[in-house]
């Protein structure tokens, strides 16, 4: 009955965080293994800047000025300066998927994306799916009760939206395989699958 060290050779532990962050090879491997809805966003090497700078971010169709430092993440800028708090800080390495947003239509983790790296790109947050003309994905989440505490929900909603943008006819098994970049502690997975399938079928 010993558990010492077995963790490191568990077959789940195939990609470690350092190798994940190290290079695109590891990223590709991670994608193949976990099939997250999210693809790695290459972090453009910004010109060397230090201290606070004001930049413009295009978020949800509008230009917004934010004051950032080189280390400021997109997540921090969205949440603390633009009051867009839908994307959540759950893990700083993006492994929970809670900070998923779309950048030029592709899902990225706002927690591992620097604000300066996404100037000039179209950033869409979960808030863009709400409002008057609420998107089918959040509506399906309500219909199928795909949220409990709801803290993971915005990340999942964006991940489902991204998956269905890419593959509007996704099958159940594609949905089961395509949403593994996000974590839900309350256990809403089965209802998320139902919600996503319902959007595919045009039921909401």
């Amino acid at each position: 009955m010993t558990k010492s060290n077995e963790y490191t050779d568990s077959s789940r532990a195939t990609v470690n965080r350092r190798s994940f962050l190290k290079g695109s090879g590891a990223v590709a491997a991670a994608t193949a293994l976990h099939s997250p809805a999210v693809e790695a966003e290459p972090q453009a090497a910004a010109n060397v800047v230090s201290g606070a700078t004001t930049i413009t971010l295009n978020v949800n169709g509008g230009d917004h000025k934010v004051t950032v430092e080189p280390r400021t993440t997109l997540l921090e800028a969205l949440r603390s300066q633009l009051e867009l708090t839908g994307a959540k800080p759950v893990s700083s390495d993006g492994s929970s998927g809670a900070s998923t947003v779309l950048v030029d239509g592709k899902p990225v983790m706002a927690s591992t994306t620097l604000a300066m790296a996404v100037t000039g790109k179209n950033i869409e947050t979960v808030e863009s799916l709400g409002g008057e003309d609420t998107d089918a994905v959040p509506r399906a989440f309500v219909k199928h009760d795909a949220q409990q505490c709801g803290f993971c929900t915005p990340g999942f909603v964006v991940a489902v939206r991204a998956l269905l943008n890419k593959n509007p006819d996704a099958t159940e098994s594609q949905i089961r395989q395509g949403l593994n970049g996000n974590i839900c502690r309350c256990g809403t997975y089965n209802n998320i699958i139902k919600a996503a399938l319902d959007v595919v079928k045009g039921g909401v």
Binding site: L84, A87, G187
Partner: protein, 750 residues
């Protein structure tokens, strides 16, 4: 806001009861959760989302070692970091203090931005004196050698009692020898369940702001009504000057009942700096100190008859509740089905992990896993169907629910197609390297309604709102309250507003122990029933009818024959200019017909195991659960399904891994595959939830549902794996390595 009770009729009227099943319009029907859309569009504001003008962001330095004494602290460099506004050395971070677990917060840095705060933390210099570390909670002998054990209690019950002249110890020794000799089959084994954490996705934390001498705290809490006093006591102010708010909480699971010292620190720093302060734990700290569940390991010997029914149980279990806390209670080992002769001994192991917090159904999941895996191994040994052996052991039920379990087992077996899928342990078909198996577990929980007070306002314009100092953990509290009001007042759920999440609202209990739905449905039903009676008096006068002849239904108040009526709005117009306010309370233990306690549930799992890789997949899971009267089947089922998914994680992936040398919690910082292992969407098979609500159960009233379905999953899945392999993987989570080790051991290779 403090609501004035202008209740004209202060005395409760009653009698309070639920409408019969056939007479309900809203209760017992599926309803979308009222806060679903704000959650799924990111509009819901959690504690972590509160951005106040001028707000400072605080980040804490967690102790990087498992057991140390602080030799010195130097924060001068941190104070000089650009953007750092305040550095606070916490009590336990002061010179000379002993710190007994890693992650404990020592120093807090408040700054203009998170980046600056983190840079400040990186610049704090602490010298530590390293002390002895012990975290091997599964190793009883090592713990004894390290002098880390204390007695955890013992319980002995036998059918034969010692005589007056007998030496008790001697008598029991002999008696147990005799009992095992007389048993038709004897089984011995070792089993275990590792410690896991609560791992709330919204970490613990608070944003505190002073408005003059008044403190407002946005707290991620399961205890809105109970934390204002705790803040006041710690800060030396009076409780009426404190308001705790929590509109949305990103998970609690039993770990968020108190302000915690970091919440107090946020309030202190806010006072000192004159600015709002947010202090949230980071992921690593959340897992290390934000709450965990005791581990449990057992050596057990049982005797049974040929049907598999246990006649004697003899066990010694141990485990850790972290630093200074106990192991799993002896009250749950063995669990629910307790043989007439039993001896249970427990030993606590004091480790260098943060103290445990209540985790969904405290003690029960461990008790269930440590006991019912044993019963299943007896079935395996006898070559019998586990279903039949569990059925035989229902005769040992101690909670009076044997008949309910028997019926639930039938329901679950039908939904699982148990008979068709069953094969004796280890005797199923092998497809390539994959084998399949079936397992089950059963559980019990109390879930008595907590105290709750609801103030109901019926406005002259027809709008209706309630106020209560409760919280919605994700179970759908708002929706349930609204359903009760709507049902009682003959309205639609969307016609009423439920206001919760402030300590200034009437007191409601903490949401823990499956007590909330019972409590809030009590207070809402009482307020609405009595409020309606008062409105009936006005309507009766207007219509020239008797108040006792009126009913509220379909948005109207009408005579029972339907001949005379007013719309709800017209009726409320009779109030003139003053809203009708009714405040009613439920006191714990005074359930009446509306709520009760004591539930039963049966769960079954069907799994596939790859013998070559050790990988387990849950193909199908069936959960049959009693919770008395169900108010919202939709959210109730979600909660059960969620509990099962948590259980799948704890069965296969989830564990706290402590480094054997440094004691550090190695996998606390990430959810990556070498981080903290939780189930992901693709890891979860079909989950079938059946709400068990025959009239015999429905008539008992409302009973909470948060804990019970979280109890059996590990047991059912472990038993299913044992059935598939014909070999027990003794400790959960059943990681691939543990599966392969168990197979190798059985093959005589280990």
């Amino acid at each position: 806001m403090v609501l004035q009770d202008n209740d004209q009729t202060k005395e409760p009227m009653g009698p309070y009861q639920w409408p019969a099943r056939k007479d309900t319009d809203v209760i017992g029907k599926d309803h979308d959760r009222l806060d679903g859309l704000v959650k799924s569009t990111g509009a819901a504001k959690y504690t972590y989302d509160v951005n106040l003008k001028n707000q400072l962001i605080a980040v804490a330095l967690g102790c990087p070692h498992s057991h140390v004494r602080i030799k010195s602290v130097d924060s001068t460099a941190a104070e000089k970091v650009d953007g750092v506004v305040h550095v606070e050395v916490l009590e336990q971070g002061k010179e000379g203090k002993e710190v007994r677990w890693a992650g404990e917060l020592l120093v807090v840095v408040a700054a203009e931005s998170e980046g600056a705060a983190r840079e400040g933390v990186a610049n704090i210099k602490i010298e530590y004196e390293m002390l002895d570390v012990f975290t091997a909670d599964d190793d009883l002998e090592a713990a004894q050698r390290a002098k880390r054990t204390t007695k955890g209690g013992n319980r002995i019950e036998t059918e034969q009692e010692p005589g007056d002249d007998d030496d008790e110890d001697e008598f029991y020794e002999k008696e147990f020898v005799r009992l095992f000799k007389d048993a038709e089959i004897v089984h011995e084994g070792e089993y275990g369940i590792d410690a896991i954490t609560h791992c709330c996705l919204e970490p613990h934390g608070a944003t505190a702001v002073w408005e003059g001498d008044k403190l407002v705290v946005y707290l991620s809490t399961q205890n809105v009504s109970g934390t204002d006093d705790q803040f006041a006591g710690a800060l030396g102010v009076t409780a009426n000057d404190v308001e705790v708010r929590c509109d949305y909480i990103g998970g609690g699971f039993g770990s968020k009942f108190a302000p915690d010292y970091w919440g107090i620190a946020a309030a202190r720093i806010a006072k000192k700096t004159g600015r709002p302060v947010r202090l949230m734990l980071d992921r690593d700290q959340e897992l290390r100190i934000g709450g965990s569940r005791p581990s449990g390991y057992v050596k057990v010997k049982v005797g049974a008859d040929k049907t598999g029914k246990l006649s004697v149980w003899d066990s010694h279990h141990w485990g850790t509740g972290g630093s200074g806390r106990g192991a799993v209670s002896i009250g749950v080992v063995p669990y629910v089905m307790v043989p007439p002769n039993r001896r249970s001994i427990a030993t606590n192991i004091n480790t260098n992990n943060a103290p445990v917090r209540a985790w969904r159904a405290p003690n029960h999941p461990q008790g269930c896993a440590l006991s019912q895996t044993v019963i299943d191994d007896v079935a395996g040994k006898l070559g019998k169907d586990s279903y039949d052996v569990f059925m035989a052991n229902l005769a040992n039920c101690t909670n009076g629910k044997a008949e309910v379990y028997a019926d639930q087992m039938k329901v679950a077996a039908r939904l699982m197609d148990w008979k068709a899928k069953w094969h004796p342990h280890g005797k199923g078909a092998v497809k390539g390297s994959v084998v399949e198996g079936l397992g089950m577990g059963l559980h019990t929980w109390g879930g008595a309604a907590h105290p709750s007070t609801c103030t109901l306002k019926i406005h002259p314009d027809g709008s209706v709102e309630s106020f209560l100092g409760s919280q919605d953990l994700g179970s759908g509290t708002r929706t349930v309250c609204a359903q009760v009001l709507a049902e009682t007042l003959g309205l639609k759920v969307t016609d009423v507003t439920v206001n919760l999440g402030s300590s200034k609202y009437p007191i409601s209990g903490p949401s823990g122990g499956s007590t909330t739905v019972g409590g809030v449905s009590q207070s809402h039903r009482r307020s609405a029933q009595d409020g309606l009676q008062k409105l009936f008096v006005l309507v009766a006068a207007k219509l020239g009818a008797k108040a006792s002849d009126l009913i509220a239904a379909g948005g109207r108040i009408q005579t029972t024959d339907g001949n005379k009526s007013l719309s709800w709005k017209q009726a409320c117009g009779l109030l003139g200019v003053t809203p009708l306010e009714t405040t009613r309370s439920h006191e714990r233990g005074k359930d009446g017909a509306l709520s009760s306690s004591g539930v039963a549930g049966v769960q079954m799992a069907h799994v596939s195991v790859d013998k070559d890789t050790g990988v387990i997949r849950v193909n199908k899971f069936v959960a049959v659960q009693d919770q008395g009267l169900v108010i919202n089947p939709k959210t109730c089922k979600s909660q059960i399904s969620g509990a099962v998914i948590m259980g799948i994680a704890a069965s296969i992936y989830e564990q706290r891994v402590n480094d054997p040398r440094t004691g550090l919690f190695l996998n606390s910082g990430s959810f990556d595959r070498d981080g903290y292992g939780l189930a992901r969407l693709g890891d979860v098979g079909d989950i079938v939830v059946e709400l068990y609500e025959p009239e015999s159960e429905r008539s008992r009233g409302v009973i909470g549902n948060g804990e019970p379905p979280a109890i059996s999953p590990k047991t059912a899945i472990s038993n299913a794996v044992a059935n598939a392999l014909g070999v027990r993987v003794p400790v959960v989570p059943m990681t691939p390595k543990r599966v392969l080790d168990a197979l190798a051991k059985a093959a005589g290779k280990a």
